[in-house]
């Protein structure tokens, strides 16, 4: 059997069930044994603006999206206008035939910038500015069109089930669309019905109606659309596979790592994590009474970090989760935590800045800020996860780093990760270790919170510990934590705190600092969520006999200069890939090891990178046709 690599796209106005439709589709594919990589794109809007979800499905490991869509399902005109050109030759579009004559002008959510580009394209090809026009273009490219009148489907369904209420239930267009798609590619229907049951498990009546619609649409497609060559009958399921949402890696990671306090202020795309933690606030604990996570929604991000620090002072593993604008408000307090050697973990789900930027879109814009964030010199760790599975284990590491080195840890995540839905190997909690460092259980004799010690780290008491009284201050302090402005004490305290940066580089295992996927003449350096598309692009090139190296830098601050330098010594061309404008990792790299980056592959449209576009750019570099700075544009 040929290898399956199939991309499905569903679109529609926000609030129309695009996401739940995509969740059903993803779940069905995963249930049938396929690997799934899904990604949601949406506007900063509650209802009405265009959102879409692409789900890539394969029988091989996949870690990214590709440019071409194989099958698009659309029950509104905007989806067709915006995405028709992404469907590749040999692909198909299932669309609502009642939309055939819809004009671009009648779709008020099509913005003028897009409309202008579309009109130019249609004009040059001599097509009308209608759905019919764009579909003709698709057809000429070799796309098969499957018109379905969604209205008629509902009407027939209402008649067949003698349930006239169904006739007007446009809310079910999403389920109908998903079921038509599954019928077209001949996926066994049992898992479709099972997925609907599980997604609507709390609303059995709604599940029932949806299942009726699903059955009807599925049969409609299998009986009418028999010519589509692709079929996905299901394959052997790999054991221990889970289908996870982007925020679940860090949130379940926090539960397992013993985070018992999370304060937060709502912000896209970070709040999903906190809401998930609160939804699961009561925790089962082995051989013990139930535990719990206190999830506190605060009045702003300043309060969120203040509360987290207050909680951390009691010895509780404490955290917050935010995005760039919230992080900016937190920076003063991060410095306080650094000054007072308080272990905290701040999960930073980046989005596109600056300012409000593209508030619901992806970006890796905040690396420089995370490294520099807050005034004054103090030690902190900036650590970046490359995918959702990693983010689970990395959360455990971040808590250990913060406890052992008594520093704030900023865990870099982003919107690309948070709004992905992927299959991965089931998280293994036993692979997480818990190391509280020098946290004390009891204190005897005189206690000094900031006592000088050989490794620069002092035993840590906590609020409420018998005989463990200490003082903290944002001012420079003596060993007790009382204010001092003595120049000699200042030197000693500053050196004590800052010595931790070297200690971290010395003690954290190299494999946790940097992951090398091979070094060749051409070697990529990158960080964070670009990992997936980079690895997939490298695999594509490998099939053509081209070897490209890749070094994923996870510990960004302190920067592992020695490791990176020694890994790259045999590489001739260094390529930096990042989702930001200025190549922020590249700058840190150059600053630390005084080596120039040869090529940058950058993207700052707010949409994540696809493996296709990375592949294309790498090809250009190898063929000597690339610019020093390659800027990627794919995605609606």
């Amino acid at each position: 059997m040929d290898s399956v690599d199939f991309t499905w796209l569903i679109g529609g106005p926000q609030g129309s069930g695009v996401e739940s439709g995509a969740n059903v589709f993803s779940k069905v594919c995963a249930e049938l044994g396929y690997q799934v990589f899904g990604k949601r794109e949406f506007h900063s809007n509650i209802k009405g603006e265009h959102s879409y979800f692409t789900v890539r499905v394969s029988d091989k490991q996949i870690r990214s999206n590709v440019n071409d869509v194989t099958l698009m399902i659309s029950f509104d005109a905007e989806t067709i206008f915006r995405h028709y050109s992404e469907v590749g030759s040999g692909g198909a579009i299932i669309y609502d035939s009642d939309l055939q004559n819809t004009t671009t002008e009648s779709v008020h959510t099509l913005d003028n910038f897009f409309k202008k580009r579309l009109h130019e394209e249609l004009e040059s090809k001599n097509k009308p500015f209608t759905i019919e026009g764009v579909l003709e273009l698709a057809k000429e490219k070799g796309v098969t069109l499957y018109p379905v009148s969604f209205k008629t489907v509902l009407a027939s369904l209402a008649e067949e089930t003698e349930n006239p209420r169904l006739k007007g239930l446009v809310r079910m267009y999403n389920v109908i669309g998903v079921s038509l798609s599954l019928g077209l590619i001949k996926m066994p229907p049992a898992s479709l019905l099972k997925s609907i049951d599980s997604i609507f498990s709390k609303k059995p009546q709604i599940a029932e109606i949806n299942k009726q619609a699903a059955n009807y649409a599925y049969n409609f497609a299998t009986s009418k659309f028999t010519d589509f060559p692709l079929s996905l009958p299901g394959i052997e399921k790999q054991s221990d596979t889970i289908l996870v949402q982007g925020h679940q890696g860090t949130s379940i990671g926090k539960m397992v790592s013993g985070c018992r306090f999370q304060s937060y202020y709502p912000i896209t795309p970070a709040s999903d994590e906190s809401v998930f933690l609160e939804s699961n606030e009561i925790l089962e604990v082995l051989n013990d009474r139930p535990g719990s996570t206190a999830v506190i929604q605060t009045e702003d991000e300043i309060s969120a970090i203040g509360m987290m620090i207050g909680s951390a002072l009691t010895g509780t593993r404490s955290s917050t989760s935010t995005s760039g604008p919230g992080f900016a408000l937190m920076t003063e307090a991060i410095g306080w935590a650094g000054m007072n050697e308080v272990p905290i973990v701040l999960t930073l789900y980046q989005r596109s800045g600056p300012s409000t930027g593209l508030p619901t879109r992806h970006g890796q814009d905040d690396l420089s800020f995370a490294v520099a964030g807050s005034f004054g010199d103090f030690p902190k760790i900036v650590y970046a996860s490359g995918d959702i599975e990693e983010s689970f284990y990395d959360t455990g590491r971040c808590f250990n780093y913060s406890d052992v080195y008594q520093v704030p840890v900023i865990h870099m995540m982003d919107k690309f990760l948070s709004s992905s839905v992927v299959t991965c190997k089931k998280f293994d909690p036993q692979k997480i270790t818990i190391n509280r460092g020098k946290l004390l259980d009891k204190v005897e004799g005189e206690y000094k919170r900031f006592a000088f010690s050989e490794d620069g780290i002092s035993p840590r008491s906590r609020l409420g510990l018998d005989n463990g009284v200490f003082w903290n201050t944002g001012d420079e302090s003596d060993e007790f934590g009382h204010i001092t402005e003595d120049p000699q004490m200042r030197i000693k305290m500053m050196d004590k705190r800052m010595s931790r940066l070297d200690l971290i580089l010395k003690q954290v295992p190299e494999s946790e600092q940097v992951v090398s996927y091979g070094v060749h003449d051409y070697t990529i350096i990158s960080w964070g969520s670009t990992k997936g598309p980079i690895l997939d692009a490298i695999d594509m090139l490998k099939k053509e006999g081209i070897d490209i190296g890749f070094i994923q830098i996870k510990l960004i601050h302190p920067f592992p200069s020695e490791i990176v330098k020694s890994l790259l010594q045999n590489s001739k061309t260094i390529i930096d890939i990042e989702s930001n404008h200025s190549g922020q990792l590249g700058k840190i790299f150059k600053q630390n090891i005084a080596t120039e980056i040869d090529y940058f592959i950058l993207k700052y449209t707010g949409r994540g990178m696809t493996s296709t576009e990375i592949y294309d750019s790498l090809k250009k570099i190898i063929n000597g046709q690339a610019n020093h700075r390659e800027v990627l544009e794919h995605g609606a």
Partner: protein, 320 residues
């Protein structure tokens, strides 16, 4: 061994100006802690920034000197994670009602069981006497280039409106009364607010110790009276006695009206006390039943370096 007043004092040099009203507050706090016999390691003083921020260094309990305007956030986090702590937050009026006003209001809504004391002197002392939120419109304290252009915040009124369930005012030169109020505030189950009038001898040349004593009210000493009086010496009843909307509204309105009294007569004492509003931890135990017995700070999270949290059901639900 019973703790003595001296046990609550540190040896840290106090660098407040001679005659500063802050001394009375620190003394009263130490006296209150001693009177209640709270173990040193079961109490935490959180402080903001400014002269009052140094308070936590003078008291021999846990002392957390935080950021400007943010003291309530740190204090609430500490109290929630370890509810057995007695938590007192302190800060200036600029700290709590200027830069920290948002936190002041939000803290009232939560009603976490702790005490907040504002050192209220109408000026930003440590930055050389700029106008602070409680200085009246048009007043010109000595280092202001021109009279104050902002209307003043009413701390008592704001506390009552924000949901604080114990609201009182004290005068820092009446240390015994202040101590009594601190004890009552700490013992109150919910968020207590104490507005302490505290003359800044260096920068506030209007609301001076003499002014509070009424030195300007009459030529003859015998005819003078202190501006400060105690609500408990009047027929004022600040307590909400039953959970009835009319009763609550009346007590709130009464406190608000009383809070506007200023000039020749300045009320101190308890303005409002409502024990019928649930403290935040009760709201938490409604959804996490064993929160108080097993709060965040007391939970075991690992055994032999391995996590003990069992997420297997959650992971099973994600399995395909």
């Amino acid at each position: 061994m019973a703790l003595k007043l001296a046990d609550y004092k540190t040896t840290v040099h106090n660098d407040w100006c001679p005659g500063c009203g802050d001394f009375g507050i620190v003394n009263a706090l130490q006296m209150a802690l001693a009177e209640m016999g709270i173990e040193r390691d079961k109490a935490a003083i959180f402080s903001g920034i400014g002269c009052s921020g140094k308070t936590s260094h003078f008291i021999n309990t846990y002392g957390i000197h935080t950021l400007h305007g943010r003291v309530l956030t740190f204090a609430q986090g500490g109290k929630l994670a370890n509810p057995e702590m007695t938590v007192v937050a302190v800060g200036g009026d600029g700290d709590g009602l200027g830069i920290g006003a948002g936190h002041f209001v939000a803290a009232g809504r939560r009603n976490i069981d702790m005490t907040y004391i504002i050192f209220d002197n109408g000026v930003y002392g440590l930055t050389k006497g700029q106008a602070s939120p409680t200085l009246k419109l048009g007043e010109k304290t000595k280092s202001l280039p021109s009279p104050n252009t902002n209307y003043n915040v009413n701390p008592i009124g704001l506390a009552v409106a924000s949901g604080f369930t114990f609201v009182a005012r004290a005068y820092s030169y009446d240390v015994r009364h202040l101590k009594d109020l601190i004890v009552k505030a700490v013992q109150h189950k919910g968020l207590s607010f104490l507005d302490v009038l505290q003359p800044c001898p260096t920068y506030n040349d209007i609301n001076t110790r003499d002014w509070y004593a009424g030195a300007d009210l009459a030529k003859e000493a015998a005819e003078r009276h202190s501006r400060i009086y105690k609500l408990e010496d009047t027929h004022f009843d600040p307590v909400v006695h039953y959970a009835d909307d009319k009763e609550i509204d009346e007590k709130l309105a009464q406190a608000l009206i009383k809070s506007l009294e200023w000039g020749n007569k300045i009320p101190t004492g308890i303005f409002y006390k409502n024990d019928l509003i649930s403290p935040f931890t009760t709201r938490l135990t409604d959804k996490i039943p064993n929160y108080m017995e097993n709060p965040p700070a007391k939970q075991n999270i690992s055994k032999d370096g391995k996590p003990t949290t069992d997420v297997s059901k959650l992971l099973d639900s994600l399995q395909v």
